[in-house]
């Protein structure tokens, strides 16, 4: 990931984690809510980063999976099921739907795939809105309870923030493991050159479906946390614009970089909040900030770091070449 010395990296990581645990203890409820939202959105964006950033499958449907997870959790917990059970159901159902949505990706790619998923996303919204017998329709579902974890109530903002943070931690480790495994490399092969990948034995079908399904399942996890976080859901937050927001998080953070979603979600969730003091102008300024960021580095924030790394690497390669050259010269 970076060229810093390894111990330094680990220390930095530990500091950030400790900060995320300790600092919010003095936050007010609003601060905790925003931070919880960041954690939830990061999970969803990590899922999309897997599908899009690593496996190169453009999806404009991640918001719909957050919706599926949220409704699964809302319906179940309001009927007395515990949240962990609901999360499992959210994962399973969004994994399954994601798997099915992966099938078009076997036929079409790039922008065409984007359009299919875009259509799916709007269809999901219509189902959420119209099937009121299940989803409460436009009125939504209210009074979604927050869970008891090990007998501890998480009704208060701080405990629930830790629920979100803990989930984020688990997901982060799992994703880290996944992308470091041969699977991660196979996903990148799908992105870089599916044709060559196929002829090297990479089962592109299965990996494509997996990339979709796992990415979607993480969307589902995020949704299952979003429902108890807001304690009320209706179809509107899960329309296309959530998918687009998540896409923006991934790209702005840096698609295909592990830490991209963390930064992207931070910008998408926190930046507008910071800009709120400008009142009517804050969304405009936010839009301008995103545009400027992309102009500065079209590959996202981490793309900048990557460029720096690439420069260092070529320096090393240059040195190797220089050695070869001097050897050649002495040989003559």
């Amino acid at each position: 990931m970076s060229g810093f010395a390894k111990p330094l990296k680990i220390a930095l990581l530990l500091a950030v984690v400790a900060g995320l645990i300790v600092v919010p203890m003095n936050f007010n409820r609003y601060g905790l809510f925003i931070l919880s939202q960041w954690a939830v959105m990061t999970i969803a964006a990590m899922g999309l980063n897997l599908t899009l950033g690593y496996a190169g499958q453009v999806s404009l449907a991640q918001g719909a999976f957050v919706g599926i997870g949220a409704y699964a959790a809302a319906i179940m917990t309001t009927h007395g099921w515990p949240l962990p059970a609901a999360i499992v159901v959210a994962i399973v159902s969004s994994f399954a739907v994601g798997w099915v949505l992966g099938y078009p990706a076997l036929r079409v790619q790039h922008h065409y795939l984007a359009f299919v998923t875009l259509a799916f996303s709007t269809l999901a919204f219509l189902v959420f809105r119209n099937e009121s017998w299940l989803t409460g329709g436009i009125y939504g579902i209210s009074n979604i309870p927050r869970p008891h974890i090990f007998g501890l109530a998480t009704n208060k903002p701080l405990p629930f923030y830790y629920v979100c943070l803990g989930s984020l931690a688990i997901v982060s480790v799992a994703v880290w493991w996944l992308i470091r495994s041969p699977w991660g490399r196979a996903f990148m092969a799908l992105r870089e050159n599916p044709l060559r990948a196929q002829s090297l034995g990479v089962d592109t079908r299965r990996y494509t479906l997996m990339a979709f399904a796992i990415g979607s399942a993480l969307g589902g996890v995020a949704g299952a946390l979003y429902a108890p976080l807001t304690q009320y859901i209706d179809p509107v937050p899960f329309n296309l614009s959530l998918s687009l927001d998540l896409l923006m998080m991934v790209i702005v953070g840096g698609a295909g970089f592990y830490f991209g979603p963390f930064l992207g979600a931070m910008i998408a969730v926190l930046l507008p909040e910071w800009l709120r003091f400008t009142e009517g102008y804050y969304l405009m300024l936010y839009a301008i900030a995103v545009i400027l960021l992309l102009i500065w580095s079209p590959t996202g924030i981490l793309g900048i770091l990557d460029r720096y790394m690439a420069a260092r690497r070529t320096k090393a390669a240059s040195a190797l070449r220089a050695v070869a050259k001097s050897r050649l010269e002495t040989a003559q």
Binding site: G184, E192, G201, D203, T314
Partner: protein, 247 residues
């Protein structure tokens, strides 16, 4: 020697054009078969049909006597068939080493074990050996997209060998490769052929390379087989000279 690959009456049409028009041939175990023919005569298309990259309009492909027509490229590769491409096909943003590890990893364990096992699937050593052989050492950590044409061509060939294949279809491996390196490559192919009893089918326009490497040569023209035989026979065949070699 038994036939590893049997191709029967393969046809491939694109709209009205028939690019491959009823090609049949066998490849014997352990042989190196050359495939030559004028530009656009259907050689690459034939490869793509054999390898499942294209669905043939008709005809049959058998591997070890079992029909494999319609199998996907990845399935064929799992059966030990690998290939190289005429146009550059590498993973541009992955490093040279990662390219090679990727080329081998799907042959280690199964999908589940690859998820929990070592991240390089134990292939770094093998990859570095390949890198050394193709003189890409100083570029091992470079993204493959930054390699020169010939270097990418070599990387492509190297990838085809990472999985320990028994049948390799090479589409113009010599194009753009420096003659000295080409000589090494040829030696290497011969060595693998002898030691591992691997079988090769090689499309090439470089006559010296084909004629010195192959035990048999098949000539195609306009989608059909024009001639098949030992290199020296083919070289003297007037039809082949007329259609392909010139002079």
């Amino acid at each position: 020697m038994s036939a590893v690959l049997e191709v029967t009456n393969i046809k491939k049409n694109f709209g009205g054009i028939s690019a491959v028009d009823g090609v049949s041939f066998d490849v014997r175990e352990g042989e190196i078969l050359g495939l030559i023919g004028p530009n656009g005569c259907g050689k690459s298309t034939l490869f793509n049909c054999i390898l499942g990259q294209l669905t043939p309009s008709s005809g049959e492909v058998k591997l070890d006597g079992k029909t494999v027509t319609g199998l996907r490229p990845s399935e064929l590769n799992k059966l030990g068939v690998s290939r190289t491409f005429q146009l550059l096909q590498v993973f541009p943003k992955l490093s040279v080493r990662e390219n090679l590890i990727l080329a081998g990893q799907e042959h280690q364990g199964n999908m589940a074990s690859r998820l929990v096992g070592r991240s390089d699937a134990g292939l770094t050593g093998a990859a570095d050996q390949m890198i050394g052989f193709f003189k890409l050492d100083h570029l091992a950590a470079e993204p493959a997209g930054g390699l020169s044409y010939g270097q990418q061509k070599l990387l492509d060939a190297a990838m085809a060998f990472m999985g320990g294949p028994r049948l390799v279809l090479l589409d113009e491996p010599a194009g753009g490769v420096n003659p000295s390196m080409l000589a090494d490559l040829k030696d290497r192919l011969v060595a693998i052929n002898r030691e591992k009893n691997a079988t090769f089918v090689v499309i090439e326009h470089n006559m010296e390379f084909v004629m010195s490497l192959c035990s048999r040569v098949m000539v195609m023209a306009e989608g059909k087989v024009l001639a098949m035989g030992r290199p020296d026979e083919v070289r003297k065949n007037p039809a082949v000279i007329e259609a392909y070699l010139g002079h």
